[in-house]
Amino acid sequence: MTTYNYFRLTGSLLMAACVTLGASAQQAETALPDDTAGYVVARANTPASIERLKLENLHFTHSKNASGIQLDSIGYYSQVALGLDREKGSLKRVQEGANNTAYSFSTDGGGRIAGLRNTYVWGRFSYTRENLRDAEYNATLFDPLRGTPFYLADPNKSKWINQLFDMEVKAASPVLWRHVVIGVDLGYQNGQAAKQLDPRPLTSLSKFEINPGVTVLLGSKHALGAHYHYYSRREDGAATNSVTLVNQTAYVMNFPGFFINAEIGSLNADNQRIYNANCMGVGGEYTFRSKGVHLLLSGNYSQEVEDVTDSYSIPKMVGTTIDERYSVALNARFTLSRANALLFNLSYDHRSIDGIQYVQEYDNSFEVAKWIIKAKNIRSNASSAYLRGSMQYMRTTDDGGYDWTIGMGMESEQLDNIYYFPHSTQNIDNITMNLFAKKNFRIGSRHAILAGVRGALKTNSDNAIDYNGYKADTECYRDFTLRDFYSLGTGYTSCGGEVTYSLSGLFGSRGALFVSAAADYFKAQDHQDLFKDRLLASFKVGLLF
């Protein structure tokens, strides 16, 4: 029945996403004055114009409050693409694959629907199939880096095959009662991950997300928005051995450096992890728009609680996490003149994950026959804080694209882990700076090559580890905890570039065909005995409507 419901929900969301593909093109009609001052005369859908569209429409890109999209000057677009991603090299987190390939199909698009009084509808759907090779210390999770400290790990370098269906729908009503816009952002993910070496779990993941929101227009320049945020995520997997004669070493992880030695085999039933998460949050937005200026000041707060158990039949609490996040951001777009635009983003994100562990006793009396919780305590905390800033100048064109752009960004990263007893800490501070430039070469009226170069420098400004646990002499501590600590604090230099060829003027002159290739090379600057480099490459072919 649950599977049936997933199919039904998946179908509904997919249909909603497809609605946008058939929506008729509408001229942008916003609730507030057009801050682009009408410089976009007739936007053609090209790789450059869609990139610009997403950069300039601040609510669309930077807010979960879908109702705010009516404050954007977003027009209709739609795209569909097939992608191939390659990733290779030792400069990585321990649990990431060393040599990965991903195939993807993705589509997104939307616009205002005239038949629904300019209601905005947008949808996104993607399917990704990843082959991760030589991933380590994970025998449970679809994404071992998502934040939970409670999972089963094993030391075998393994191949994983992960596939994920990810879809999202945003809808915003027309302006109601001259002041109010109501919107909703719905998301659904369904994935499976299968490890290809003993111990091998088949992990299932599903996540449903809803963000209803409202925006109130205060005159012609100001608007206030608020939204509610909720998601439910379930993930479960049980690791088993296909070679039953050989037990596999496993670690029941409670926190980096704090784990239980275990074995997965015929006599050990502790091979399953069931995750049940609920998250609630709120967000608020203030928008200012006038001729040539669009500011979005936003703040978000959310709290996720995730219980982890080890069985469906007689569940024992493995742990609970309280994942608290807040963020503030200022995003601005300045349309300086007909051909000049400046984008500015500044944000601060903070995340704090408390890890709760339980003291339990099994009551085997006939009437009870379950694990009884006798005490629970917060045993660990992992926090991260990011301060990010970026600025981008864009030489725009009347067709909605751009001629060239240049930008720079900075990110300050602060990671702090603490295990309260035995008292152990990890602290890492990093700063990353990046520069990029892109040029759109037009060849005739229909052909274009969008080419870009970029580079980044990450430096570690501080790191310290103070471990007082019981496992300092173990392979899992040295090979996993320490190596992962070093990877987080390893600086690098990177350079990369991308080239996109597009043939426009298709599908009634608004469509285009594109082929793109991109590559980035990262060279480790620290701990070069452990990490060398990483190459990321991606190829994509698609259509724009």
């Binding site: 037990n247 609680v305 019981y470």
Partner: protein, 435 residues
């Protein structure tokens, strides 16, 4: 319209219940506070007399419980905190709240002999500070340990887990004279202890049995002889097989998975299956069998049973109802009518606890004075055995094995199982030497 209203109400109710459950989950998580370590004290004393069910026993002043190693083990976290007892037998440690197995190991000298003071408390909930004064005054935080003299007779190798293909008939048990004096096997009893499979939920025995005064046998075999018929000299071993057959003749694995040839062992633990009796091999006699006798075979758990050797000092028989009496030589757990052989602590020579995996020490079932730890081959039907570690050799080349009454430390896993793998000698009376 009515249907739509009902559907809307149901949806609203579902959403409300879902939200309510979500809020409950969040509120419950917020009940937790940051952990504070606690300081706990444990009082250790050595007793040689009867220990009642509350753990009360008169401390024997001849055995000073000072300088003993005390380990607080939290298996839920793999946390091991070690400390030692002071001159009053008090050990103090800082730990996180949780369930602990507290084990005490060490030895003392008394009248020229070495005695082990090994004991353990399983699954003890330590949730708050316990001062040394509290520990000394409360039986909840005290351990009365029975000194065990270092014996010469021990289990050298046990093959219990079976072989690939779910083959279990080639189980064997090798008993070794690790001392420096001859030991006469006559009347020696070899017991399989209750519970058969390791469990964290131990049976409750009647209060009259007290604590750690007895262990309880499911099946008891006795060696033949009248007094000095079966000498076992230092460096000699005897092997008892479940079925004394050449199992290599059966279809099985090869190499490290090859089945055992048990056809030349000293004794067969034959329980009555006429089709599985090797007439060449002397049979041990079962003298106690809890419940009804399994005449198909004597199969001990492939996940690991517990065994002991004890010397009752007389010949026993299964049929001797004048000997096997409830409350004297047999006992049943509270709430059960199934009786088990009641084996006095002072008759035990050696014991070994075998558990499904070495991480399952919280499932230990026999008292610490018999075995402070437990051994495991970690899996079933993998053709592996547990064997004591060699710590030296005699002048004649026979090995000396580690025997500290702590199987976790004393045993190692071997592949494949093997009779007399380190040059142990066969006793001269062994039938296979005289055929």
């Amino acid at each position: 319209m009515k249907k739509r209203t009902i559907f809307s109400l149901v949806t609203l109710l579902g959403a409300t219940l879902g939200m309510s459950s979500c809020i409950d989950m969040m509120e419950s998580a917020h009940d937790a506070s940051i952990v504070d370590p606690i300081s706990v004290a444990i009082k250790v004393s050595a007793v040689t007399g009867f220990v009642d069910s509350d753990g009360n026993g008169e401390a024997d002043p001849n055995f000073k419980p000072a300088g003993l190693n005390v380990r607080f083990v939290n298996y839920d976290e793999d946390a091991i905190i070690e400390t030692t007892t002071d001159e009053n037998g008090i050990a103090v440690a800082d730990v996180t709240p949780g369930n602990y197995t507290i084990s005490v190991t060490g030895n003392v000298e008394f009248e020229g002999a070495t005695y082990y003071l090994n004991g353990s408390l399983q699954n003890k909930a330590l949730m708050h500070d316990i001062s040394p004064e509290e520990a000394a005054a409360s039986q909840d935080y005290s351990m009365s340990i029975r000194p065990a003299q270092v014996g010469s007779l021990c289990f050298r190798e046990i093959f219990y887990c079976g072989s690939p293909g779910y083959y279990f008939r080639n189980q064997f048990y090798e008993i070794y004279n690790n001392g420096d004096e001859v030991y006469y096997l006559d009347h020696l009893c070899f017991a399989q202890l209750h519970p058969n499979v390791a469990t964290a939920t131990l049976p409750e025995w009647p209060a009259e049995d007290g604590q750690n005064n007895y262990v309880y046998g499911m099946v008891v075999w006795q060696f033949p002889g009248t007094g000095q018929d079966y000498p076992l000299y230092p460096g000699e071993s005897v092997i008892v097989a479940q079925e004394a057959a050449d199992h290599t003749k059966n279809q099985g694995g090869t190499g490290e998975y090859a089945l055992m040839d048990n056809s030349k062992v000293e004794f067969e633990a034959w329980s009555g299956n006429a089709q599985r009796n090797n007439p060449d091999v002397p049979n041990l006699t079962y003298v106690y069998w809890s419940g009804s006798v399994n005449t198909l075979q004597w199969l001990t758990s492939v996940f690991g049973s517990a065994f002991c050797l004890y010397q009752p000092g007389r010949e026993l028989t299964y049929e001797d109802t004048s000997y096997w009496k409830l409350g004297e030589t047999t006992q049943h757990p509270v709430g059960s009518s199934t009786e088990y052989a009641r084996i006095p602590a002072d008759q035990i020579l050696d014991g070994v606890e075998l558990i499904p995996t070495s991480t399952a020490l919280n499932m230990k079932r026999i008292p610490g004075f018999v075995d402070a730890g437990a051994a495991s081959v970690e899996a079933a039907y993998v053709n592996k055995s547990v064997c004591r570690k060699v710590i030296g050799h005699r002048a004649d080349g026979t090995p000396i094995y580690q025997d500290t009454n702590d199987s976790s430390a004393d045993f190692e896993v071997m592949t494949p199982p093997m009779h007399r793998r380190n040059g142990e000698k066969q006793p001269a009376w062994s039938w296979s030497l005289n055929q």
